[in-house]
Symmetry: C2
Subunit: 467 residues, 2 copies
C-alpha cells in the first residue's frame, strides 16, 4: 500500500548520517517508538509505512536542509504538523523522512494596521486566535481540531470549520507563504498587500496541496476584527430530513449564519452516555444556528432562522443571546466526536453538497447506514453543505469494517451524484484518492499531475498523496 | 517587440482555410480594419503585432475548434473580451489568432439558493450585476470598466474595483470554470459547492493568468445578498499626504469601508474643465469613504471615518446618507479617467502598497512627477493601498514620453521598496513584465515558468504575456 520500495539498510545509514551532519543537535529522532507515533495521522483505515527518521524542525534552515538531503538521495519526505489530519495525508511512506513542523511555534508578527499575522507553521490554530485577540483581531478558520492542529497543517488541507459558512476557509486568509520548493530552494509566494496579481497565484496553489508541492515554513494570514457577540438559535427536530429542510430554507432566505451546525441522535446519545446531559431525550436532531450581525440586523437574522426551523417542523426552537446558554448548546457539538470515539474507531466522512441537496444527502446517508448495517452518526457544517457522516465499527470486526467501507463508497458516490465533492475540508490524502479520480475528469487530473511534476520534478514531496 | 516571427503567407493561408473549415459561419473575420481594431487593449505604450485573423466565438465548441487549429499549426492564440485591459495582456502577437469572447453573452443560470451565477465569458460585468439584482443578489467585483468589461476579462486579470476593500476581488467569487486547456481539451475546474479541497486549486490558478494557461468558456461565480444602502463620508484635503494619513488612520481604526476612494487636484481640475462642477476650487484632494454596515453600526463607522478625516486635517468633511448627494460625489470619481483622457494619452499605473505606506507612496509619486516634469494625476482605491497614478503626456512629444517612462519605472521601484506589488488589479500583461521580474525571486519565477510549461506545453496560449 506504499508507493515506494523500502530502502536498503545501506541507504538508510547514509541518509541518517547526512541528516545528522546537516542538522543542529536535537532535531533528528530515530527511536523506533517515536517513529511509530509519527507515522500516521488520525484517519482511520488509511494505510501507513515505516519512516526511517523523524526530524523536528525549528527553523526554515532545518527544513531546507532536510529537503536537500531527501533530494540528494531520492528519499520521500512527508511533512506533518500536529497529526490531526483525517485523510491520511500525513501518513508515512516506507523509508521516508517525516518532517514535523510542530516545534516551529513562533508568532513572528501581528500587525494591527495591515491586519495580518506572520507565523511559523507549527503555531496551533487556537494560539494564533488568542494572540490575535490581544490586538482586537480575529483569525476565523476554526476546524474542530483548533485546540491542537497547526496553521501549517491547516494550510496543507485548506482547513475549514464552523465559521466558514460566513467567513470562508484557510485559503481565503493566506496572503504570503515561505516555502521550500521541490528543488530545495527557499521561495516567497504571494504578497502582503491587500490586492495583487503579479503572476500566477502560487500561494493559493500551495494551500490545500497537502505537502505535495512544497514545504511551508512561514505563513502570513489576513486577520479580521474580533467577531461581534453572537445570537444563537437552537432547534430540535424529529428527523434528520426535517432538519435538512430547515437548512435549505435558511439558504434560500438569504441569511448567512455565522455558524449552522447539525448534530444527530447518535451523537446526542453518545454525549449523554458520556456526560449525562439529557439531550437525546428531547431531540432526534439538533440544529444550532448563529448570527453575529450587529444590532437589529442580528435580531432579524435570528428571527429568520427561528421561523425557518419552525416551518420545517422543529419540535422545539428558541433564540438566545445569552452566551452561557449558547455555550451549553455548542458544548454538545464539540463533545460529539470524542463521545463517539468512545464507541469504537470512527471514520470521518467529509462530503460537501449544494445547499439544496442537503436534505436528500442526509436521507441517502441514512439509507447507506441501514443497507450496510453500519452505525453512521452525523455532525455537519450544514450551512455550507459540508457533512461529516461518522462511520463507527467495533474494533476487530472485519465483516463490520467491510460493510462500513461499502457504506463509505456509497456516500461518496451519492455526494458526487448530487453535484457535490468528495472532500469539503479534510483533504484527499489517501482516503479520498479514489473519490478524486471519480470526481475529476481524466483531462483535469492530467493537469493536476502536470503541475505536480512541474513543481516536484524529483517526486520526493509526500509521494502517493492526493494524486 | 513580439515574441514570434511573422508567419509565412503560406501558413496564413493554411490556417485561415482550416479556421473557415471548422467554424460555423459568421465567426471568422479577416477584414484588415477589423483586425486592427482587435489588435490591442487600452494600455498606452504597450506594443502590439498584427493578427492573421479574429474569431468571434459564440459557443464553447467554437473556442475548442480555434484552440485545436492553433495547436495543429503552432499558431499563437490571444484571447480577449471587451479589450478594456490596461496592461497590454490582450495585445496581438504577430501572426496570432485573436479569439474574442465578446459574443458569448449568455447568462446560463442564476441560482438563489446556492447563490451563484453561471455565465459565458462575454457577459458584461454590469449586465451580470443587473441580472443578479433581479434575484435580490449581488456580484461585488466592480472594476471601473464594469459598464464594458466582460466577466471573462475580469477572470483573466483577477479584476478588482471600488468594493474590493471590503468584498474582495474576482478570485474570491470564482467557484468553477470551464476551460479549453493547452491541449485543446474541455475541462471543468473548481466546484459549485461552498467548500471543496479535491485536488489542487486549478480554478484559482487560471484566475489572473491572462489567457496564458487556458481559455475560459464558462464561469460560475458566487453571489452575495444585495448590498445594503450605503452612507458616504466625504473629506476635502489640502495635500495628498494629509489624505494618505486619513487612509492610514481608517486602516488602524478597524473599520473596513465598503469603498474608500481618493481623487486628486489634477483629476478634479480635469473634471471641472469638462463638466464645470467647481470641485477643484474647494479641494486639492477628495477622499470618499462608504460604509454599508446596517443601522447603528453603519452610523458608527461613518463617524469613525469622519473623525479620521478631521484628525488628518481635512479642510471640510461631512457624512451623508442621502443617495443623491453621495452619487454626485462619486460622479467626480467616475468622470476622472475620461476627463483626463481629454488632456492626452493616459498611462494608468496600478501599484498596491501596504496601508501604512499609502502616505509615503503618494509623496513619492509627487516626487516622481516633479523630478521627471510629468503630469501625474491620482485616483486610488486608497482603502486597500491600490493606487492608480495616471501619467499624461502630449501626443507626439517624445521627450515627454521618455520622462514619463522614467517616472513610471521610478513609481514601480518605489512601490516595491515599500513592500508593495507592481500590479494590484490590472495584471502583468506586457507593461508589468519587467516589474514582475523585479518583484519575484528567480526561483519563484522559475516555478511560474514550470507551471506555464506544464499547462501550455506547446506554448500557444498568449505567448510573451505575464512571463
Amino acid at each position: 500500500m506504499t508507493p515506494s520500495a523500502p530502502p536498503t539498510a545501506q541507504l538508510t545509514e547514509i541518509v541518517l548520517a547526512r541528516l545528522a551532519e546537516v542538522l543542529p543537535p536535537g532535531r533528528l529522532v530515530i527511536d523506533a517508538q517515536v517513529l511509530d507515533s509519527y507515522s500516521h495521522d488520525e484517519a482511520e483505515w488509511a494505510p501507513y509505512g515505516r519512516p526511517l527518521a523523524v526530524v523536528r524542525a525549528r527553523e526554515t534552515s532545518d527544513v531546507q536542509a532536510v529537503v536537500r538531503v531527501c533530494l540528494e538521495h531520492a528519499v520521500p519526505l512527508v511533512t506533518r504538523g500536529a497529526g490531526t489530519g483525517l485523510s491520511g495525508g500525513a501518513n508515512a511512506v516506507d523509508g521516508c523522512v517525516i518532517l514535523s513542523t510542530e516545534k516551529m511555534t513562533r508568532i513572528v508578527e501581528i500587525n494591527s494596521v495591515e491586519r495580518l499575522a506572520v507565523v511559523q507553521p507549527g503555531v496551533v490554530n487556537d494560539d494564533l486566535r488568542t494572540a490575535a485577540a490581544e490586538h482586537g483581531l480575529w483569525y476565523p478558520p476554526d476546524p474542530a481540531s483548533a485546540p491542537w492542529s497547526t496553521i501549517g497543517g491547516n494550510v496543507a488541507t485548506n482547513a475549514g470549520g464552523l465559521c466558514c459558512v460566513k467567513y470562508g476557509v484557510t485559503r481565503d486568509y493566506v496572503l504570503e507563504l515561505e516555502v521550500i520548493n521541490g528543488l530545495g530552494e527557499i521561495v516567497r509566494l504571494g504578497r502582503r498587500t491587500a490586492k495583487g496579481v503579479a503572476g500566477y497565484d502560487m500561494a493559493g496553489l500551495i494551500v490545500g496541496s497537502e505537502g505535495t508541492l512544497g514545504v511551508v515554513t512561514e505563513v502570513t494570514v489576513r486577520l479580521r476584527d474580533l467577531q461581534p457577540p453572537q445570537r444563537t438559535v437552537a432547534g430540535y427536530f424529529s428527523s434528520i430530513v426535517d432538519a435538512g429542510n430547515a437548512v435549505e430554507a435558511i439558504g434560500a432566505s438569504g441569511v448567512i449564519p455565522s455558524a449552522l451546525e447539525l448534530i444527530d441522535k447518535h451523537c446526542l446519545a453518545a454525549v449523554d452516555k458520556w456526560k449525562n446531559m439529557g439531550l437525546s431525550v428531547d431531540a432526534n436532531v439538533v440544529l444550532l444556528g448563529r448570527t453575529d450581525a450587529p444590532g437589529a440586523a442580528g435580531e432579524r437574522e435570528a428571527q429568520v432562522m427561528l421561523a425557518a426551523f419552525e416551518a420545517a417542523g422543529a419540535t422545539w426552537a428558541a433564540a438566545s443571546s445569552d452566551p452561557e446558554e449558547a455555550e451549553a448548546l455548542f458544548a454538545a457539538r464539540r463533545l460529539a466526536y470524542p463521545a463517539l470515539e468512545r464507541l469504537g474507531p470512527v471514520l470521518t466522512e467529509d462530503v460537501c453538497v449544494p445547499k439544496a441537496a442537503v436534505p436528500e444527502m442526509l436521507r441517502r446517508i441514512e439509507v447507506a447506514a441501514v443497507e450496510n448495517d453500519t452505525l453512521i452518526a452525523n455532525i455537519a457544517h450544514a450551512g455550507d453543505g459540508n457533512l461529516h457522516p461518522l462511520l463507527i465499527t467495533d474494533v476487530g470486526d472485519a465483516a463490520a469494517r467491510d460493510r462500513a467501507e461499502t457504506a463509505f463508497r456509497q456516500i461518496i458516490a451519492d455526494a458526487l451524484d448530487l453535484g457535490g465533492t468528495v472532500t469539503g475540508e479534510h483533504g484527499v490524502g489517501l482516503l479520498k484518492r479514489d473519490g478524486l479520480y471519480q470526481e475529476l475528469s481524466t483531462e483535469a487530473l492530467a493537469m493536476q499531475r502536470a503541475v505536480k511534476q512541474a513543481l516536484d520534478p524529483h517526486g520526493i514531496l509526500n509521494p502517493g498523496k492526493v494524486l
